[in-house]
């Protein structure tokens, strides 16, 4: 929601609360701030939350709207929400669809880094030079409470000569001369290690050895030199790279890439907004100099923000859908003889190229989502996914995650987590070839296809395995032999029904293994019951 301003005053103010009226409606009753917000800027009394503090989701939205209205020229709304069916237009020979969202929609290039600040994860900004990658990271550093000088000082500029000492710090020469033991050496740690926003510019230009040191800081949140440890505070990371493939001067080590939680692309510059650039040149003021104090978070607020995001609920029905989607990708029928080992991970660990295995054949390419990826989803990827969907819902002022939050956020979280199998037959069909390059649309399409299957199987209402798991969850204490046998029968019935279905798809893999797990638990219990008898 942009501020009500004249064209000449476009860079002027923070959007007035409520930036999302829907969220404000829900928070009715805590509206003391309404009186005190207005054309001169909003006083920070609110809107207040139940504890009387500032409503941080509102502040987060204000930060978002300030960035898109005044700082970064990103006139793209690729994260779309609709309250009503949107109008759709189709263009060109490819009939590309353009929808006009009917609800507040967002630019991923600003929203995802901002959510990353809220949840303190690791965000990779990818795009050609001069697209504002470093600017947005700098702005977020200022929004996190640092002044421009501190942020600039804290940026680590990747370059081929960067050493571990450049990155982490140096031993103090005087202590090195006098030291008799390693512990006696004192390290002058680099200041950025203690910052709550960490910016690594052009991380793919850092030499491999230094990347390993960076990995320790990113992954384990500490730095180490000469047996000395520096514990870093929780921080939001921003890494930039010109090359999406992780190329650059040095190949990025896989473990480092794997630690990146969310990937955002800097989209091209829309030349219709050239006048905006001219205005900036004429004004001679960089957006980093003008961040309004209203949108700057204190340390305590950032801590509270992260806590509040974690408290957003993910409803059961949505969790089931996510489970179903995530279960699609790990299974690889040709990769083993025993079901447990029929995974892409088995193949990868063995170092055998996935495409060297014969196609299981005969599967519906639309249904077989599994064939489109080279890997499954790691636990880390699943956790990141949950964190970011909560953050998206929180940002919109919701108390629980909605379907569209998942659908919109997923592509950015799984961007580097799901490796595409570009040789899959799916990509040769129709106009699917373009999905080889458009990772965001591909992942969103995967989720949509998984949801279609989920709905076709009526899993919301007809999920016997979930029911069996819930039964087991209630515990075995006091369960009688007759009931145990009844449940074992039910498990075997489920297995038979999958067996009768013929082809094996990704989602069935986890189902079968879950059934086997339950069968074993009940079998052991039955043995114990019989021994007691």
């Amino acid at each position: 929601m942009s501020s009500k301003t004249t064209p000449s005053s476009k860079h002027q103010q923070v959007s007035q609360a409520p930036t999302n009226p829907r969220a404000a409606e829900r928070r009715r009753g805590f509206d003391v701030a309404e009186l005190y917000s207005g054309p001169l800027g909003d006083a920070v009394v609110s809107p207040t939350d139940a504890t009387g503090g500032v409503a941080l989701d509102e502040k987060l939205r204000q930060a978002y709207f300030w960035i898109v209205n005044h700082a970064i020229i990103s006139p793209f709304y690729d994260i779309e929400y609709n309250a009503e069916p949107p109008k759709v237009f189709r263009f060109g020979d490819s009939k590309v669809e353009v929808t006009l969202p009917t609800s507040q929609s967002y630019s991923s290039y600003v929203l995802m880094p901002l959510l990353n600040l809220a949840v303190r994860r690791r965000c990779l900004l990818v795009g050609g030079p001069g697209r504002g990658k470093t600017v947005i990271a700098t702005l977020l550093g200022i929004i996190a409470g640092y002044d421009l000088g501190e942020v600039k000082q804290g940026i680590q500029h990747g370059q081929p000569q960067m050493t571990i000492a450049d990155l982490l710090g140096n031993p103090l020469p005087s202590t090195m001369i006098n030291a008799e033991r390693m512990e006696d050496i004192k390290i002058a740690w680099r200041k950025w290690l203690g910052m709550r926003v960490k910016i690594i510019d052009e991380y793919n230009r850092i030499p491999t050895r230094t990347q390993s040191a960076l990995l320790t800081v990113m992954a384990d949140n500490y730095a180490e030199i000469y047996d000395q440890i520096y514990e870093c505070p929780p921080a939001a990371w921003y890494l930039t790279a010109n090359d999406d493939a992780g190329g650059g001067t040095y190949q990025v080590i896989e473990a480092l890439r794997d630690r990146i939680d969310v990937v955002v692309k800097a989209l091209h510059f829309n030349t219709r907004f050239l006048d905006e650039l001219l205005t900036r040149i004429e004004e001679g003021v960089a957006p980093e100099d003008m961040v309004p104090p209203e949108i700057v978070f204190t340390q305590a607020e950032l801590n509270r923000l992260e806590k509040e995001v974690r408290a957003v609920r993910v409803p059961l029905a949505l969790r089931r859908r996510l489970q179903f989607f995530a279960s699609e990708f790990e299974f690889f029928e040709a990769g083993g003889r025993q079901l447990e080992y029929m995974t892409k991970d088995t193949v990868k660990v063995a170092g055998v190229p996935l495409n060297s295995f014969a196609d299981a054949g005969g599967k519906d390419t639309q249904l077989d989502l599994n064939a489109q990826t080279q890997n499954g989803l790691s636990v880390r990827a699943l956790m990141t996914m949950l964190v970011f969907v909560k953050a998206a819902a929180y940002f919109r002022g919701a108390e629980e995650v909605e379907f569209e939050d998942v659908r919109q956020v997923l592509p950015f979280v799984l961007h580097d987590k799901l490796a595409q199998n570009r040789d899959a037959p799916f990509f040769d069909q129709g106009d699917n070839g373009s999905l080889r390059a458009d990772q965001v649309s591909w992942i969103r399409g995967l989720f949509d296809a998984a949801c279609q299957t989920y709905d076709r199987l009526a899993r919301d209402t007809d999920d016997n395995i979930a029911t069996l798991l819930e039964q087991l969850e209630t515990g075995l204490d006091g369960l009688e032999l007759r009931e145990v046998e009844k449940r074992l029968d039910a498990i075997e019935r489920e297995l038979r029904s999958i067996e009768a279905g013929g082809k094996l798809y990704g989602h069935m893999f986890d189902d079968i293994l879950a059934l086997k797990y339950m069968h074993q638990r009940y079998t052991n219990y039955r043995v114990w019951l019989r021994s007691r008898a």
Partner: protein, 330 residues
Amino acid sequence: MSSAPDSAAFHAAVAARRDYLNALFRREGRGVQPEVFMAYLRDVVGPLVGLTAGADSARAEELTTALYRLTLRAHRQGLIGGDAPSAALRHALTRTLPPLLSAFPDRPRDLSLAVCNGALRLERLDTARALAWLTALESLGPSCTDLDTLFSLGLVLAWREGAAEYRPAAHARFAELPPLLRRAALGVETLPNDPARRFAAPMDDAPLGPPAVVARLGGFVGFGGPFRDPPLVVAAEGRLFAFDSHSTTEIFADAFGAALRQVAEPPHDQDAPHSASFSLADDGVLRIGDAETQLAPLAASSSSAWADGVAAVTLPHSHFVFVVGRSGAA
């Protein structure tokens, strides 16, 4: 800027933050005449900073930045020095803020913005009410123990001055005020809970009079109202709403005032259309509780609704919503 004897702290602050303030003016001051703004800084902002910051240079800088930004925006919007300057804003900056900024040294930005925005908001209702709100803040504000209490008091006083939409929040905040401030603000220490007495002032314990039209809200969009066509009213979730073919507004009304306010989303679940507490017959006979009266102008209404002590009625050929309630008989 010429130096005034009591503005030394202000001048020092301006010198210290010169680059930032200049950049701010370049960015936010389009259309503002520099000499007019300078004169205002010299005559109003400087003395205010000098008076409230004293020799504390850090506080002077904080205050200067906050007031510079605030008054620059006000100049740009014509609220100061324009064709239609705001009397409430002038009063807030020259009369209300000096005692309040002296009494509450923390968060000068929030305090100055809150007072000025609140004044402008109430001025939209009526300038006299905005000035009365500011005057009450000047006299009662310094008695508050902290800024949060001051903001709560401000909300209660805004409700008292006719901002009916703040009623639920003001009720909640009123209970948090110290007893003395409660009495000073509304004349009572406890607000009556009886919805039937909604249109009687808190101090008024006289018997209620017959139902009467207590307010007329809305109007045709062509004459500055919110409705394009004659509205209808419904009760939902214990609240009253008026809607036409284009928008939905919520109705707020009580002894202090009445207002309509746009809502982002129409209510989903309507309350039952008939209530034991309220009825309106086609001939205009209107009953609230055990009191009945004939309101002929409301005969043949197009819709009526009742919630929490307030009745709202619409007519087929009127763009207004008629609010009916029972005031104190006195």
